[in-house]
Symmetry: C2
């Protein structure tokens, strides 16, 4: 491997064009404006102090820029991963390990897993999660995240839980304790964010504001509400007068070097959550990266992405952060704002670093209700009902796996939800292949084509049963094939030949091979000869290594169904 | 449902012919002769008293005869299930629940699970275990069982473990404590059993003994060694003189009614072992039943079998037995000895009942080394290397799943072994479907057939890429398809049309549907049109419910590859 293949920055920095700089610069700034408030909000969601989110938005971005293969991916804290981190460190808190210590350990493990998966080239693993499962998972997780912010929005104390019903119940029981100032503040923030996302940039442009400026203002929504609400709390002393919860002291200065340390027992307990975070993080990241890359005909190497994310997470572990990945909305903003190369991310990291150095005193009066508003608006776009509609109309099994995932995440928890979804979608696929479609076929008059006798007007011969099985033959459906053919033969005593058309058979495994041998004997006892037709090249090659073709005699292997029927009719 | 469908005995007893009686009678006696010593040996293997095995060979047989659908299946204690019972009750022994109490509870749960699976018609579940996994599992389990008998054969004390290396180590460390009389006795028994299995019946017939008598004598091997060795121990007082371990007191009389009772916690711990025993037991039973039934063109209904086994196990739980299933070698003996109907099993049960009533004092001096010999010879036939050879030559993936199962059973344990085997075989199948075979095809001159350009001498058109994907399109391979086609198009700039031949595509799931839509757009950007050909009926029906066919335009769906190429060449 060339160095540029391991460290892609060598590739793009060597060819860096001056023309790329304005785009990278603008994108870097706009992304930073989004990232600063988001990263504090997500850290809070993860059960960590806000400054941990800022720390996770410096070194990881630079490291991803060095090792990642996507040009526009914006790495950092994201909502889904923060939720997973929260539920993991929540359980460890009672064991005497501080929340931040376990978050560092998680980030370290996630980094190691990413690199390991990249080295063994296991990036394909994420392909085994189907789109409907992803959709059900993110919709439900978004709801869980949204409701987890209710306590900040209402200024009340709700015990940590992922159960939405419990949250609502607890909130209803405390209706009279709701902090109405916090609620008003939070709802105003949400309103402003929705405005900024949608109509604002059209309004600004209608008012004659330049396009680029309009975009920056629209994307600065979170920053604007942070500034306004902090200013309000500070001047009106809302923390004292109205009991608004504020962020409080944030340590100034760049993060110092941190080492994730604990006894082996704690490491072991973190292994499976870390693996889950790795897979979910990689899945989110690679989906975004592929979408953006295809828009500019660039290439994403899944295994290189794993290395990039691995470096970013180990960076997070060593500089006081927590697990990071490529975020969906943030990367889109980065891309649309003109990011041409990962330099944009390095600029973003620089701005976050300056913020940490200079601006932390400013965040003292930042109300938690504002951060809750940012999170709620950010995750609301993850709730997706379109996929359910599509799947329901097209393929009920997919819709079922979507709903199962959605339900388990909501009523049980996020970790179990994605695992159940994975099992459900694999199970439904296996179930379909275990009871395959088959067709008894006949010739379309005047052609060499054979089609289902139930769907087409075709010619058949009473002594010949031509059957096409529409699936690879393997252990789960071998008995199905045997039963189906024996039943068809039992129904029509005139049958002397069975032609098994294998145009859809891509694999015959050892179990199916044994079953075919049994079937040949069973048919022979009933004075019926089995023939094969349209056996594919790779399948033929394998069968040639076995006794099957000998045992088949006097049955034969024909190139096509047409040839088979013609030859058998002549005889 | 008619009553005869639930209680098959109504069917066969109503039509019972006098001519069936001699066969049933002989088979019933021969099976009983095998079963009495085997059932005591297997109970000992399960960590239970020998009489538990006898109790498990009375009521369960009668109940299976009432509810089961196989005519020749011989139900009772078997080696594999006994091993699973042993490892389950071994862990519970420390919890204050007696071994026999947990065995009764296991039998009850196994009965309930069987009936539940039968009622929800889930008999197909066992199809998901591939033949190579079964082969690896039984070979390794047979070795574990065989080695577990070493302590009885050597007359030494080896701590209970499934780890063969530990057993050997422990045996080697105690070489000087080996009871040489026990060893001599055990080895003689093994020698006699091997003789009785193989050469004896030929020798007897050569000596002019009638065939039927010769068969009975050959199958009576276990009974013969039980009689001889008991007699030797009794007359020579080998238990006192040589310290031979003997069976000791066996309670006389029929079993009294037993109720499996314990607190809910114990029941919960038994749930997953019971489910495993149910599945393994059903798998063994249904395989035997199907093989025997196909030899006489009879039908086995998997779900009826579940009911039969369920009744048998609940019977075992209520009459002091332990989990039972249809045994391989015993059923073959029953079948070959002429069993025509389940009456044979009822006769067997009667003989075992008589044995329990009258003959238990006789078993007092029965040496444990003899029972060990019976077990070792019985399981030796389960060790199977033929399947490994076949699979290795034919399909490496199958051989790998066999070896994985074998290794895990040996070095870890039986329960984990079968689960890992199941996951390995499903995983390998999914892996194959996730990276499917595909072929770029061309026309065989003068025909309408299209074949792989790498394998056949075919005609192609530089503007048309005809590609056949040899697998259903689903989430795990959707990206593979996209990447493959885009790469093929990128290689040949002349291409204007891609014809995707779907003759092997049996399913297009929602994920693949989305990927196809993306692919259409991506190809359109490269000024290439995607067409489909040979789309199967069920797939077309589903696609018609979606937007895909609209989005495809100007691409079309052709009936055949021939039609597609002809039409595109005309344009």
């Amino acid at each position: 491997m060339r160095p540029a293949e391991i460290v892609p920055i060598i590739e793009w920095l060597g060819r860096y064009r001056r023309a790329d700089l304005p785009g990278d610069f603008t994108a870097g700034i706009i992304t930073a404006i989004m990232l600063v408030p988001q990263s504090m909000a997500y850290a809070l969601l993860a059960g960590l102090s806000p400054h941990v989110g800022l720390y996770a938005s410096i070194a990881p971005l630079v490291l991803y820029a060095l090792f990642g293969s996507s040009r526009a991916l914006a790495v950092g804290p994201v909502a889904l991963i923060s939720l997973l981190v929260a539920s993991t460190i929540g359980t460890l808190d009672q064991q005497g390990v501080s929340a931040h210590q376990s978050a560092l350990m998680l980030a370290f493990l996630v980094g190691v897993f990413n690199i390991l998966l990249g080295v063994i080239r296991a990036g394909f693993l994420v392909n085994f999660i189907s789109h409907p499962v992803i959709s059900g998972f993110s919709s439900a997780a978004a709801l869980v995240i949204g409701f987890s912010q209710l306590k900040h929005l209402l200024g009340i104390d709700i015990p940590r839980t992922n159960n939405i019903l419990e949250i609502i119940e607890s909130a209803v029981a405390q209706t009279n304790q709701v902090n109405q100032t916090a609620l008003a503040l939070g709802l105003s923030c949400i309103a402003i964010l929705i405005l900024a996302r949608g109509p604002l940039s059209s309004i600004l442009r209608a008012m004659g504001v330049k396009h680029a400026v309009a975009v920056i203002i629209a994307k600065a929504g979170p920053l604007i509400i942070v500034v306004i609400s902090t200013f309000l709390v500070w001047t009106l002393e809302l923390d004292k007068v109205a009991g608004i919860n504020i962020v409080g002291v944030i340590p100034a200065g760049l993060p110092s070097l941190t080492f994730p340390l604990a006894n082996i027992d704690v490491w072991q307990r973190l292994l499976s959550p870390a693996l889950l975070i790795t897979l979910v993080g990689f899945l989110e990241s690679i989906s975004v990266a592929k979408t953006l890359a295809s828009k500019r005909r660039q290439k994403i190497d899944a295994n290189q992405e794993l290395l990039g994310l691995g470096a970013a997470n180990i960076g997070a572990a060593l500089t006081g952060g927590y697990p990071v990945t490529g975020g969906l909305s943030r990367s889109s903003v980065n891309f649309e704002a003109g990011a041409n190369t990962p330099l944009a991310s390095i600029i973003t990291a620089g701005i976050v670093a300056l913020t940490v150095l200079l601006l932390t005193p400013f965040f003292y009066f930042l109300p938690q209700a504002t951060l809750a508003g940012i999170i709620i608006v950010a995750v609301s776009s993850l709730v997706d009902s379109k996929m359910l509609k599509t799947a329901w109309a097209y393929n009920k099994a997919d819709a079922v796996s979507l709903l199962i995932t959605f339900a388990v995440v909501l009523v049980y928890n996020v970790e179990v939800g994605i695992i159940v979804g994975l099992i459900a979608s694999l199970g439904l696929f296996l179930w379909r292949t275990a009871t395959p479609h088959y067709a008894i076929v006949g010739r379309i008059a005047g052609t060499e084509h054979f089609r289902n006798i139930k769907r087409h007007n075709v010619e058949t011969n009473p002594e010949i049963l031509a059957i096409r099985i529409d699936e690879s033959l393997y252990f789960a459906n071998a008995r199905f094939l045997e039963t189906t053919i024996l039943a068809a033969v039992a129904e029509s005593p005139a049958i002397r030949h069975v032609v098994l058309i294998c145009s859809a058979v891509n694999i015959i495994d050892t179990s199916a091979l044994e079953t075919l041998e049994t079937l040949i004997d069973e048919l022979r006892d009933a004075e019926v000869t089995l023939h094969l037709a349209e056996v594919k090249g790779p399948v033929t090659d394998r069968l040639a290594r076995t006794e099957l073709l000998n045992k088949l005699k006097p049955g034969r292997v024909f190139l096509s169904a047409h040839e088979a029927i013609a030859a058998l009719e002549r005889e």
